[in-house]
Amino acid sequence: MKWIYRRALLALLSIIFTVVLTFFLIRLMPGNPMDYYIQILMRTGRARTREEAIERAKSLMPVNMNDPIWKQLIDYIVGVMHGDFGRSISSFTPVSEIIVKSLPWTVFISSVALTLSFTIGTVIGLVLAYKRGTTFEGFSVAALTIFGAIPSYIMAVLLFFLLTIIYPIFPMNGGYDSLIPVGFTFAFIASVITHAVLPVASYVLTDFAGWALGIRAMATTVLGEDYVTVAKARGLKESTIVTNYVGRNSILPQFTGLALSIGFLVGGSPLVETIFTYPGIGRFFAAAVSARDYPLLQGLFLVLSITVISANLIADVLYTRLDPRVKVGD
């Protein structure tokens, strides 16, 4: 029980650390983000006078730039706790609104991708462990190593290039066809799915290899255990041994890996989403960086970090319940 408190305290510390870090990173930069925004407003003619620009800039962040820095920090933390991350410089929408709108898209494609690559990888890995020592296994492991080495965003470029430009089979951008009205219709759902195929494939084609190699290594060790030899001696069917004896025992460490993928689940990949102009959180993240949209960047990074930190805490606690052999503490 004591361990859980320590773990929770650590998560809280991490969240505070991240909040303070994002606050100071943005404040310590050369060139105040507010000055930058005022410049943009004046240059694009969206504000006619300097006073008007300053007035609009003030509503961007829940912080008064003229206050001493400690008061700004406190205001910022209070704002964050109320879900107020300020407004995006480029679109002037509240950051929280952008997050609420984009998060479901990212969670949708990344959870589908994670489920597929985990399942495919586990099956392939178990088969390979059973066929160990054969030429087939050697070639497959080499192929998996190469697939695992390709970054998902490079795979995305290849798929985009091959299947939307050279052979225009899949739609090029967006989360759905904007000509189809949003709703629970067959046409809309089909459009959402066809738009998700390539981003999901970019993740799955590169990630399944890691899962497969991981479970293969684990299953190879388990296959040498005495209880597997005994099961074989008892004349149990091979399929029973693979699923009930080897599979079950080698899959547990895979769940640790799954818990580490939670960050991917909420953050997606800024690059893959940008390549397919997918309306998820990753694309806004990449766009915020290149547009120097600091409030948006700050908000997205914070939400991402807080979700990852809390999810990791939950995963850690669940994991100790799942496997009694896990040593708790240091």
């Binding site: 998560a11 991490s14 990173l25 943005i26 080499a142 190593t145 490079i154 290039f161 953050g267 960086v289």
Partner: protein, 285 residues
């Protein structure tokens, strides 16, 4: 060093197919980065007659959106790519090792503070942190880029290093050094560190793999203005800036950096797995 000391690892390297393939690919890239720029001068002046010229004898990989020879860009880019990942790898390993060694050996309050810091940094998502830092710091200096890239990577190594040190520091010869009054720092660097050098070496390779992934990503989304011939920048220009990806006769321009990025990544991973096999014989299956 005796001849056998060198030939021993080399022999295993040749025996291990993964390590052999990886080291040949890496050697090729290193030679390309070291000597390529001397043989092929880079001429960035636009030549409009050569825009998107297809591969030919004079231009084996064709030309880009302003008519510059793509092979020359790739060769000059190799220098930038390798410099950045090497610096990032070194910084990550030095930072991670020092924190891990000090935390593990000193113990007590020092360990508690450093270990908490490591735990905190480990929970912050790595690539987003690197992207945010790069977006804010906007630097062209390779060392600063290396520092940014290592921000998301040093903590994992520090934790592994610490647990290694915890098991080593109870061994007899360390006990002996302590007994004759040798200082703690000198024990750390002359007794503990040498035992961990193979581990540090492998960690360096994995840090390089990670920073290749992250650095190409940074150049690709256009956060870093460091170099115009970095392969990530070439991809950025081919896909997002010039729109070459939509031009049917410019396909070679998109494919060239993609192939070289994949080749280097595969070479690095094969080599690091191979080296891991050599130093951890227990893993050989």
């Amino acid at each position: 060093m005796e001849l056998e000391d060198i030939m021993g690892p080399l022999h295993v390297l040749v025996e291990n197919k993964r390590a052999l393939a990886g080291s040949l690919i890496l050697l090729g890239f290193i030679l390309m980065a070291l000597f390529g720029p001397m043989i092929f001068p880079l001429d960035m002046n636009p030549k409009f007659s050569l825009v998107y010229a297809p591969p030919s004898f004079e231009h084996p990989l064709g030309c880009d959106y302003i008519g510059v020879d793509i092979l020359t860009e790739i060769i000059w880019g190799a220098k930038d790519v390798l410099t950045i990942v090497a610096i990032a790898g070194i910084i990550t390993v030095v930072l991670g090792s020092i924190v891990g060694l000090v935390a593990g050996y000193f113990g007590g309050i020092v360990d508690l503070l450093l270990n908490t810091l490591v735990d905190i940094v480990l929970t912050i998502p790595g690539l987003p942190l690197v992207i945010v830092l790069a977006g804010l710091i906007q630097t062209r200096d390779p060392v600063s880029i290396g520092l940014i890239l290592s921000a998301g990577a040093w903590a994992g190594l520090a934790r592994e290093m610490r647990s290694q040190v915890l098991s080593i520091k109870e061994r007899d010869f360390i006990e002996a050094s302590r007994a004759i009054g040798i200082g703690r720092l000198s024990i750390i660097f002359s007794d503990v560190l040498p035992i961990l050098m193979p581990f540090v070496g492998i960690s360096f390779l994995f840090a390089v793999v990670q920073s290749l992934y992250a650095s190409v990503a940074l150049f690709f989304i256009g956060v870093l203005p460091f170099s115009t011939v970095h392969w990530g920048t070439m991809l950025n220009i081919a896909i997002q800036v010039s729109g070459a990806i939509f031009v049917p006769y410019a396909r070679h321009y998109v494919i060239a950096p993609v192939i070289f990025i994949i080749l280097l990544q595969v070479g690095l991973i094969l080599f690091s797995y191979g080296v891991e096999d050599i130093f951890n014989p227990r893993l050989r299956t």
